[in-house]
Amino acid sequence: MKNILKILLIIALLKVTLFCIESNSIKGIVKDKQTGETIPFATIIVENTKYGTYANTNGFFFIKGIIDGKFKVTATAVGYNKKTIEVDIKKGETISLSFELEPIPIELQGVTKVSERMKEAYKNEISVQALSQQELKIIPSTSEKDIFKLIQILPGVSSTGDVTSQFYVRGGSGDQNMILYDNMMIYSPFHAFGMFSIFNTDVIKISEMMTGGFSPEYGGRLSSVMNIISKDGNSNKYSGKLNIGNSSAQALVEGPILGGSLISSARKSYFNNVFEKFLGKNIPLDFYDINSKLTFPIANEGKFSFSAIISRDNINQSAISSPNYLWQNAAVGTNVQVSIEDYYLDVALSFSFSKAYVDYKGFQGRQNSENRISNIFFDAKAESYLFEKDILSYGFSFILPRTEYSFQNSSGLVVKNKLDQQESGIFVKYRFGRIEGLGVDVGIRSNFEFIAENISYAFEPRIKVTYQPFHFATLKASYGRYHQTMITTSNEDDIIPLFEIWLPVEKPYYPERCDEYIGALETDLSDNLSFSFQGYFKRFTNLLGYNLKKKNSSDPDFSSGTGRSYGYEFFLKYQDESLYTWINYTLSWAKRKSDRVKYSPKYDRRHIINILSSYRLPYDIHFNLKWELASGTLFTPVLGYFDRLDLEDFSSNNYYYDTGSSYGVLGSKNASRLPWYHRLDIGLSKSLTIYNSFALNLKVDLINLYDRKNIFYINKDTGEKVYMLPFMFTFFVGLEI
């Protein structure tokens, strides 16, 4: 801890002595005039000059290096009227501005232009997709609007079925995705069976999905970072929403409180018939979740917020032989964001907890199973604005996870364990942006892991270069090294993992590592049509997986392997006043080698095409369409069946009379591929203003329109085929006040 503070002090002093040249600055915040909500990615320009920038996800902006004089500063954000403020700036002065923009109610234009605005704001980033609330609205949904369902159709992302929201990014496994919700680390962000996430889409302001090229402030995962930022809530007036879907009801309230704002949303399931269609059998599944946030403005364009998220899923079965299940998530966190002089500070402290419990009701003497992970996460980072667009960022983080599990294994023995880990990271990054058309991010991150008196150290260089040779085209490249010290023990062959245990990587194993290389081209083919291409190569080392050669109980469960993945992603987007469409195609390979066995993970889908479209029909009705086409997932084929005998007990001659049970002899691991997956979903949505500020939102969706029988899995012992979702009609009614 002392060493980390010393290093940070040196970085700060370095910054002061080397870069602190006195210059004029304008900083401030951009807000929605009606709700007081900050507006991410608004454009701020100093008119008739070269100076300009974009607001960050918290609506904050900083422009440095402005000459003395009187200027007009204009903030624009699509969906809002622009606003101009006159300033008279003098030598060495920093002026603070607060823009309150009046919203214009245009539904589809919102989708189109918000995404365009994001594209500009992320022009120095690589492999980042920012998803807005508006994009979530147009995606046809089976039961719940879900951020993870939108993520699953992004380029480079694959999934293994309709039923699960688990996603796999660029050949990485499911546990290699970091999920941050208001800077709280969420380990198990799914409702039961992973059907959808615990995040209520109505409270989400913006979601950043990073499929590669992570900045050094992010560490601890190899394949993706999903950063979800929730709304602050309406600080000017009370408002609410009531939504009724075919499986759950949801209420949202927001309004001013104690000089700040509150937003709170609660969702509760009430129908089981949808789950029946999902899972093929009637399961008494019941869930709820609550997402809340309190935000208070503080001096210097800052804010203090307190977030909480709670979710609980139950399956209570009446039969004594059928176990009851419980899944629980809880997370609380505080966040302070403040601007001091030319620094922007972001400090977060959170506690998150996740638990899974199986109650066997004492049936046949079986012990109950339980696993839980609790985590304290502290993260502090600072951005320092230097010459014009140069930015120095640095910070540190502490992660203190505790894992506990207890279960009875197949031989009847109870396995219990409790593991504590400490992980800390420190990073520094320099963004070089003073040359027009060229951006270079150079950074480094160091991680220290302490577990069972062992210390491991990891060093992670990161570099990102963007170059714009023409105004319509940008070339991008990045290299990054990432380490991961927490993994799940879920078996890749489990169809739906019900009991996933997070474990720290202990000696004799080393933290998992990934070296990633990305190259990209982004181009605007016309005012309405844009195209991007990305190619990536990832090399994995120390990948922990099940020991494929394990024969004896004394043999280790895990073995360390290697892997690589590579692929190409094509993304075409068209947008005009009435049509918003994107089509992406991913061609990818993922390979693993463990114990001299070479195989591809089951989510290695060679080709994936996704089409998402929204068209505005007359009477402001929106027609939405989603079509997915993908190579089938991999599976291990069966070479044949026989009746397998249990030969353990020779106490009597009973084994002679054993007729055995059906058993499929497996071929090479994941050597076969299921048939092509494809599914078409369409829907209509309409917003009606009933009376003054009362709005009614209606949405109907037809899922799997042509009732494609996509295979979910095949029982290897019985040969039974289980299919994914059949044709479904879903509806959604929302009342907004």
Partner: protein, 292 residues
């Protein structure tokens, strides 16, 4: 525009509504499935044979073979031919036997043919008898077993032997003594010995403890269940099961890595049958008795 949308949907529907015919079985070849465990106690060595199937749930007639020829070459090179027989309720296997086989320490080879089409073979090593020593202490018996060097898995089970009367007929019975037990009110937990790995290379002794409290617990259980008197409890019998490498590996794969610290859920397969499936193993069972 609406017409265009409808047309596109119609085309998509037309081309995509077909569903693929798909089979999970790939590269199927007919093979023999063989189960034979040479058991030093058995009067007849029983072999069960089946055909590998290309689908599940096939009729038993599709699982058995014709023209089977099975021979076992003993450690002296003498061939023993198996004959057809029938086991009550076992219709999904061909059942054959060979009798009067005096198992000796050494390697045995098995050859199975079905006509000229299918064949499979394998070897197994039969071990020498094990010596069992019992020592009595204040609170327990200590059992020492001199294990064969080639033994891979060992299981020591102890039983309380007793006589019980059913409908006027006296029959001898046994109840296994748990290696561990706990009683909490009406809640009882019993753990019985499982097959344990023994070192392949060393010829060393195995030590097992049988607590007097476990014997008393079992005796009381017998008395409560069968309403017999203490005098009907005759003796304690201790069995040592020594599994050869192949049988041990097969059992471990069948149980699916069930060890105390395992968290894996997958289930592997093990077979030592060349050009086939199943297992050809050997078990050496020795026993001794003590008076309680």
């Amino acid at each position: 525009m609406i017409k265009k949308i409808v047309s596109i949907l119609f085309i998509i529907l037309f081309f995509t509504s077909c569903n693929d015919d798909f089979d999970i079985v790939k590269d199927y070849h007919e093979q023999l499935v063989v189960f034979l465990v040479l058991d030093n106690r058995a009067d007849k060595q029983i072999i069960k044979i089946q055909k590998l199937q290309n689908d599940v749930g096939l009729n038993d007639n599709n699982k058995v073979l014709k023209d089977l020829s099975v021979r076992l070459i003993d450690t002296y090179g003498v061939a023993h031919y198996f004959k057809d027989t029938v086991l009550n309720g076992v219709n999904n296997f061909n059942v054959l036997f060979v009798d009067s086989l005096d198992l000796k320490e050494g390697t045995y080879s098995l050859f199975v043919n079905s006509g000229n089409k299918l064949y499979a073979w394998s070897n197994v090593t039969v071990r020498a008898p094990q010596l069992i020593y019992v020592s009595s202490f204040n609170e327990y018996y200590k059992i020492n077993i001199s294990k064969s060097a080639s033994s891979r898995g060992v299981l020591v089970k102890s039983f309380v032997c007793f006589d019980r009367v059913d409908n006027g007929i006296t029959t001898s019975d046994m109840m296994e003594i748990p290696s561990k037990f706990s009683v909490n009110g009406t809640d009882t937990t019993e753990i019985y010995p499982a097959v344990e790995k023994s070192d392949y290379s060393e010829n060393k002794s195995i030590e097992v403890i049988i607590g007097y409290n476990a014997i008393v617990y079992t005796k009381q259980k017998i008395i409560n269940r069968y309403h017999i008197e203490s005098k009907d409890i005759k003796k304690i019998k201790i069995f040592s099961f020594s599994y050869d490498w192949n049988l041990y590996e097969y059992i471990m794969s069948y149980k699916g890595y069930s060890d105390p610290y395992s968290v894996r859920l997958d289930r592997p397969n093990y077979s030592n049958i060349i050009f086939g499936n199943g297992v050809f193993g050997a078990i050496r069972v020795d026993s001794t008795e003590i008076k309680p």
